[in-house]
């Protein structure tokens, strides 16, 4: 009887098929819809429309603003927390890290409803500060995605680097600025990537906090619910391009450091 031998590379075949079927092929479909009109002919009309229409450009700007503010707020909150958890007096206390991650396990709707109630108590009417409310909601939602990669990359920095810096005459502030911060950049980049894109598209947070402004995600949603697959696909493609450009830039910026100090590469 002939035995069937699997080589190691043949183990990858199912995944290859999966990737083609569920990643490459759908992407091609989206690309096709983005640059065709209703008759299936090639057309750059959608493209031109998006970049000449004040409303869509305004949505893009508003999305970028929300995403940038959310990312900045998450980073400002997450970095000190991650630093203290990784290097401070509470190091090796996974329970504390757990407490930061724990909200992720509570249902999203419940958390947002609770936040909405709290904000309503404080602000009386949520309609007064839609932008700020959205940033607060998203920051609350995405904070764990920022803390985890930043924590990982800081925790991996060997203590001897900080000691070497002190030994060479650096005061604590200098140790942080010249050694710890640069060595944790890969984690920061991972965290930014994890937060920025969802913040551009996650319109559920807006809806739940009664923010009636459109962001990129809501734009896609409304096009698709109006059966305008072409414009919806085009906006998806634009988002893809933004993220791609973003990650190429950050890779250039981080150089080869990621392999050394960890962080999730996207």
């Amino acid at each position: 009887m002939k035995k069937i031998h699997f080589s190691r590379s043949s183990l990858g075949i199912p995944y290859g098929i999966f990737l083609v079927l569920f990643v490459v092929f759908p992407l091609l479909i989206i690309l096709f819809y983005a640059f065709t009109d209703g008759q299936g002919r090639f057309s750059a009309e959608n493209f031109i429309f998006f970049f000449s229409n004040g409303k869509t450009l305004g949505t893009l700007a508003y999305s970028l603003g929300i995403a940038a503010s959310t990312t900045a707020a998450s980073l400002l909150l997450a970095y000190p927390a991650a630093f203290i958890l990784a290097k401070g007096r509470f190091r090796r206390r996974p329970v504390l890290l757990m407490l930061f991650i724990l909200p992720m396990w509570i249902n999203f709707t419940l958390r947002m409803t609770a936040l909405k109630e709290i904000l309503t108590v404080i602000e009386k009417n949520l309609a007064y500060y839609p932008f700020m409310n959205t940033v607060i909601g998203m920051t609350y939602d995405f904070l764990p995605f920022m803390i985890l990669p930043v924590y990982n990359s800081i925790a991996k920095i060997d203590d001897s680097y900080a000691e070497a810096a002190m030994d060479l005459g650096a005061k604590p502030a200098q140790v942080f600025l010249k050694v710890m911060l640069p060595l944790s950049v890969p984690g920061i980049i991972s965290g930014v990537m994890m937060v920025f894109l969802p913040a551009m598209t996650n319109y559920v947070v807006l809806d739940m906090l009664y923010n009636s402004t459109y962001i990129m995600g809501s734009l896609i949603g409304s096009y698709f619910s109006a059966y305008d697959w072409h414009n919806g696909s085009l906006i998806s493609m634009i988002l893809l391009a933004i993220i791609l450009g973003f990650s190429l830039c950050s890779r250039e910026f981080a150089g080869q450091k990621e392999e050394r100090t960890g962080g999730i590469r996207i």
């Binding site: 000691e163 030994d167 640069p182």
Partner: protein
């Protein structure tokens, strides 16, 4: 006359990471300006802790560190004129070689052109000219090592600390770096404090070796002193190859060990119990009748530049180094010249034994089995129905627990009834101490008990050691202790 110029003085240094369990205890050391000092000891002996206290990464729990007479114990690392070469180099991976070396100079706000000159100069010293723009991870281990040294010495420190810097290098590279470090030390004139567990490295490089064990200084001296006249059996055993025997002085110039009497040159009075050390290269193998001891070769191993020959004489094994092979089974004599016998007085204040508890709360060591009272292990513990309970009534698992027993020689007595005492053995030495005799009793497994007894027994008598209840102290050995 050379002027005494101590750059560093460590006075009664004690360091506890956990309360009341010192990793370094009552450590005193003076280091002279320009010296190459090596802290040597097995891992966990506290040598790195000493180095970290010198660098300022740790503060001593008690004691003072004086740098040129000023107490620097509480000074942070950045304020000390001391630089460190780290074990794993700790070169900053996000900076290139130039920025790594310039790091310390920039902290001092030195002008740019001066920094450039100094970096260039120091790269020449470590023989890596033109490496300024290279990335840290593009360098080999040996090159990183040199950069780490360059980064430290460019600051012109008073003292350079080196924490096992050669540990990660391969053998050939290590030997090369040893010599290079030594010549660098002579060139720069900086005081070097070097930490290693490698005795060969310490002997090769140091002006002064400081041998440590369990946080306590064992001996400090020149390599020659340490090698030729070790202060105790630990140092003798740790530095180089050695034969160590238990012995006793029988007369001013005579010492008994390994079942025979030898002439020696030290001045310890007759009756002193000693550890006798003889280096293998000083053990002469002769015709059987020409030696003080007779024996038979049981192994002969080729070691490159010599043969390591082990001779069995009675129950003792003696190791010798010879440049010719002697066949296994050859009867030989062992002769040792008086000047090569080194005697080290033995400290026998107290008897210590470590063993394991079994499930019946009995202390087990070799074939000795002693029932233990739970309350003796911990004041809160009680015993009932073969179980041990703590203060809160919880059951304590005692099986497998490490326990140390101790008793003072003065509390014990000898008995000729083997059943009367807990330990049995043959008397190996007797010393008359005026009003009593000090005996050494050796058990079946070479374990030794010291007993003071007012009655006279004979060498070779089979006796048991009687320790009255309450005089046998026991103590739990905490994890991490040896």
């Amino acid at each position: 006359m050379e002027r005494k110029d101590n750059i560093i003085e460590l006075q009664h240094i004690r360091k506890c990471y956990v309360r009341d369990t010192p990793v370094v205890d009552d450590f005193n050391l003076s280091i002279q300006r320009g010296e190459f000092v090596t802290l040597l000891g097995p891992s966990g002996c506290g040598k790195t802790t000493i180095l970290r206290m010198l660098a300022g990464f740790e503060q001593p729990t008690a004691g003072k560190i004086l740098l040129e007479g000023d107490d620097i114990s509480a000074l942070p690392p950045h304020a000390r004129k001391i630089n460190t070469v780290f074990q794993k180099y700790a070169l900053f991976p996000h900076l290139n070689i130039y920025d790594n070396i310039a790091f310390g100079l920039r902290q001092k706000k030195m002008p740019r052109d001066l920094i450039e000159k100094k970096v260039k100069n120091v790269l020449e010293i470590v023989d890596l000219e033109g490496f300024e723009k290279r990335r840290v991870d593009s360098l080999s281990g040996g090159q990183q090592q040199r950069i780490a040294i360059a980064r430290a010495i460019v600051n012109e420190p008073e003292i350079l600390l080196l924490d096992e810097p050669l540990g990660a290098l391969d053998y050939k590279m290590r030997q090369e770096m040893q010599l290079e470090l030594k010549s660098m030390h002579q060139e720069l004139g900086i005081t070097f404090v070097f930490v290693t567990h490698d005795q060969e490295e310490a002997l090769t490089m140091s002006d002064k070796i400081v041998v440590m064990s369990n946080g306590v200084l064992q001996q400090a001296g020149t390599p020659q002193e340490i090698y030729r006249r070790p202060a105790n059996a630990f140092v003798a055993d740790f530095i180089g190859e050695s034969n160590i025997f238990n012995g006793a002085k029988t007369a001013q110039r005579r010492v008994a060990f390994a079942g025979a009497e030898f002439e020696c040159e030290d001045g310890y009075p007759a009756g002193t119990l000693v550890n006798v050390m003889v280096r293998p290269e000083f053990v002469d193998l002769t015709e059987p009748q020409a030696g003080t001891l007779q024996g038979e070769v049981i192994s002969s191993i080729f070691k490159g530049n010599f043969y390591e020959i082990t001779v069995q004489s009675g129950k003792y094994e003696v190791v010798s180094q010879k440049n010719r092979e002697i066949a296994v089974g050859t009867p030989v004599g062992i002769a040792i010249r008086p000047e090569t016998i080194h005697n080290m007085p033995r400290d026998l204040k107290i008897n210590h034994m470590t063993g394991i508890l079994d499930d019946k709360l009995c202390f087990q060591m070799h074939d000795v089995s002693i029932p233990i009272d739970a309350a003796a292990l911990d004041a809160d513990w009680t015993q009932a129905d073969g179980q041990v309970y703590d203060g809160a009534g919880q059951v304590i698992e005692t099986a497998g627990m490490q326990v140390e027993l101790s008793f003072s020689p003065a509390d014990a007595q000898l008995s000729d009834d083997p059943e009367e005492g807990v330990f049995q053995g043959h008397i190996t030495t007797i010393i008359y101490m005026g009003d009593h005799y000090s005996y050494c009793v050796q058990g079946k497994n070479q374990e030794e008990y010291y007993v003071n007894d007012e009655y006279l027994w004979n060498v070779g008598d089979f006796v048991s050691v009687v320790v009255p209840p309450g005089r046998l102290h026991c103590r739990r050995v905490k994890e991490g202790e040896q």
